[in-house]
C-alpha cells in the first residue's frame, strides 16, 4: 500500500476518533470507545499490507488496526453503536469486532489469551504449509501477563510466523509504563530469546513500516517470531469516565507535538506530495467518516435472536 494510502487509513481512524470524542463531549454515549488517537502510525504500520490470510489480533484501541486489515469503517461503527449489520449484533460491541474471512478472528476481554492464540494461528499457518503470518498487538497491560512468555517460548521453539507489536503508549489506565516495566520498556526481556527485538518511534510511520516489514519477511521465510516495540503516546483519556487528570500537561503537550498524523503529513510533504492534495484528502476523509457515522447512527438497532440456540438456556 502507498504511503498516501496508509495516511488515508490513519486519517479515517482519527476522524472516527474525533467524531466519537465529539459525541462524548456532547454527552452522547459511545459505548466502550477507547480512543486510538496518537497511535495510528503504529497501528496502521503494523497491520497494513498484509494478506487476507494473514491474521491480526488487534488491541482495544486498535480501530486503525482493523481498518488497515480491511474491516470496513461501517462495521466498526455499527458494532460500536449496537446497530444491525456489524459483526456481532450487540453481543460484543466494539470490543469484539471480528472478520474471520479477512484474518480478524476477534479479541479476548481478559488480557492473556491473545498470545497463545497468536501461537495457535501461527501454528495453523505452519501446519498448512503457507507463508502466512500472524501479527499480535498488545499494550502494557497484556504485556505483563504470563501467557505472553508461554506463547513466545512456543513460538521461538517452533519457529512460528508470529510478529508481536508492543504498544508502549505511556499508560495502562492511570499507571505509568515505568511503574510496570523495568526502564519502562516492554520488550527488552525478549531479547533474551535471541530473536529480533526492535524498539522504534511508534509515531514514525516509516520506522514502524521498516521494522514490521522485516519482522513479517522473517516470519514468511520461516525464520520465526520477532517483537517490535513502538514508543507512542495515548493522546486521550483511557475511556469516557477517565478525566486523565493524572497526565502532566507538559508531557501531553509534547506528545501532541509528535502527533503521528502531523509527522506523517510532514513526511509526505517532504517526499513531494502537494500540501493541497493532503488538505483535500483530509477534508474528504472527514466528510466521508462523518457521513458513514451519520448513516450508521440512523440505522436500525441490532436484533437479538440468537439465544434460544445457545446450550443450556434456562432461568428467569
Amino acid at each position: 500500500m502507498s504511503e498516501l494510502g496508509l495516511y488515508r487509513t490513519m486519517l479515517v481512524s482519527r476522524a472516527l476518533d474525533d467524531e466519537c470524542m465529539d459525541m462524548l463531549a456532547r454527552g452522547l454515549p459511545v459505548p466502550h470507545f477507547h480512543s486510538g488517537a496518537g497511535q495510528e502510525a503504529l497501528s496502521v504500520g503494523g497491520a497494513a499490507g498484509l494478506r487476507d490470510s494473514d491474521v491480526v489480533i488487534y488491541s482495544h484501541r486498535g480501530y486503525a488496526q482493523l481498518l488497515a486489515k480491511g474491516v470496513p469503517l461501517e462495521v466498526i461503527a455499527r458494532d460500536m453503536f449496537y446497530k444491525a449489520g456489524g459483526s456481532n449484533a450487540a453481543r460484543g460491541g466494539v470490543m469484539h469486532v471480528s472478520a474471520p474471512e479477512i484474518g480478524v478472528p476477534g479479541r479476548e476481554g481478559v488480557f492473556g489469551a491473545r498470545f497463545g492464540m497468536a501461537a495457535g494461528f501461527g501454528l495453523a499457518q505452519r501446519l498448512r504449509d503457507t507463508d502466512d503470518v500472524t501479527v499480535c498487538f498488545y499494550g502494557e497491560a497484556a504485556g505483563a501477563r504470563g501467557p505472553l512468555y508461554e506463547a513466545l517460548n512456543m513460538a521461538v521453539l517452533w519457529d512460528l510466523p508470529v510478529v508481536l507489536i508492543a504498544e508502549n503508549n505511556g499508560w495502562s489506565v492511570n499507571s505509568r509504563t515505568e511503574w510496570l516495566y523495568p526502564n519502562a520498556r516492554m520488550s527488552a526481556v525478549w531479547r533474551g530469546f535471541d530473536i529480533p527485538v526492535t524498539v522504534v518511534d511508534g509515531n514514525d510511520l516509516g520506522e514502524v513500516r521498516a521494522a514490521v516489514g522485516e519482522a513479517v519477511r522473517r516470519a514468511r521465510a520461516g525464520e520465526g517470531p520477532s517483537v517490535v516495540e513502538g514508543l507512542t503516546y495515548r493522546l486521550h483519556p483511557h475511556i469516557w469516565w477517565d478525566d486523565a487528570a493524572y497526565v502532566p500537561a507538559e508531557e501531553l503537550a509534547e506528545a501532541q507535538e509528535r502527533d503521528p498524523l502531523t509527522l506523517t503529513r510532514a513526511a509526505l510533504v517532504a517526499a513531494g506530495t502537494a500540501p493541497e492534495q493532503l488538505d483535500a484528502l483530509e477534508a474528504e476523509v472527514a466528510e466521508e467518516v462523518r457521513a458513514v457515522l451519520a448513516e450508521v447512527l440512523a440505522g436500525p438497532d441490532a436484533q437479538w435472536d440468537v439465544e434460544p440456540r445457545i446450550v443450556g438456556v434456562a432461568g428467569v
Binding site: 460484543g92 476481554g109 481478559v110 441490532a302
Partner: protein
Amino acid sequence: MSSVATETRVLTGREAFRAGIREEMLRDERVLVLGETVRSGGAAGVVAGLFDEFGPRRVIECPVSENGIFGAALGLALAGFRPVVEIYSADFLLAVANEVMNDMAKWQVQHGRPDEPLPIVIRGCMAATEGLGPEHSQSMEPFFLHAPGLELLTPSTPATAYAAMRAALAATVPTLVFEHRKVYELSGPVEGGVIGERVTSGADVTVVAWGWMRHEAAHAAERLAADGVGVDLLDPVRIRPLDLDPVIASVQRTGALIVVEEAFVTGNVGAEILARVAEALPGHPLRLRRIAMPDVIHPYDARLERAILPTADHVVAGIRTLLGD
C-alpha cells in the same frame, strides 16, 4: 483524618468498603493493599486516597500480572503480612482460580497447619451495571463456591459492605469480598451491619437474596405486602460458609422458598441453598424455586442485557406463581 468510627456515619458503599480497609490499615501496619492501578485508587475508586495516606510500602502498585500478584499475596501472607488484593474486575478471578482454589485455599491444611491463619483478602468490583459485557458483569460467587477453605462475602448495603470488609479482615482463611458495582453507589449508615440480615418478615414465602438482588427482592416484598403476601426476606451476606439455620427455620414456617440471584442459573449458589433446604426437610411438600439469570452471557448492549437481568418484577411474578401453584 481521624481513625475513630463514629456512630452516625453515612457513606456510600464504595466509601464503606474503603473505611473497612483503611481502619484496619491504621490499626495494623501488616495490612497491605496490592493490585493494578491501586496507586490511583484502583479500578473502582475503592482504595482512593490510601496511597497518599499510607505510601508505597503499604499500597503496592503492580503490573497487570494477576498470577504474579496473587502468588505474591500468598507469599506475603505466609511471611506475616496481611495482603488485601484487588482484582480489576471480579470476572478476572478466573485467571487466578488456580492460585485461589488450589494454592491459597489448600495451603495451611496440606501443610499440616489447619489452624494457622492465612489472612488474605481478595476483593474487587463485580456484577452487572449497564452494558459492561460478559467479562465485566458476571456474578462470580458460584465459580468459587465449591472450594473448601475459602470464605465468600457478597454485601448489599453500605452497612453490610463495612461489616463484610471487617469480617474479611478478621477471617483466618483466604476470603473473597465481591463488591457489587451497584452497591458502590448506594448511600446509607455504615455502622450496624451484620453478617446475615432479615430484611423483611413474613409468613407466606421465604426469600433469600444478597448483593444487588437483595434490593430487587425488597422492592418485590414491598409490592407484595400491599397485596397481603408476607415475605420473609433474608440476606445472608456471607455465602460460604452459609448460615442455613435461619433459612431452614423460615421455610419450615412458610413452606416456600425463592432464591433470587444475579448469577447464571445453572450451578449457582441458589442450587446449593435449595438442595440444603430440601435435604433438611425430607418429605415436606415444599415449593422451591430460583430466580436467576438465564444461562446467557451478558450482551454488551444494555437494552438487551436488561432483558435478562433478574428484577423485582421477576421476583413478584415468581412468588405469585410459586404460591398460586
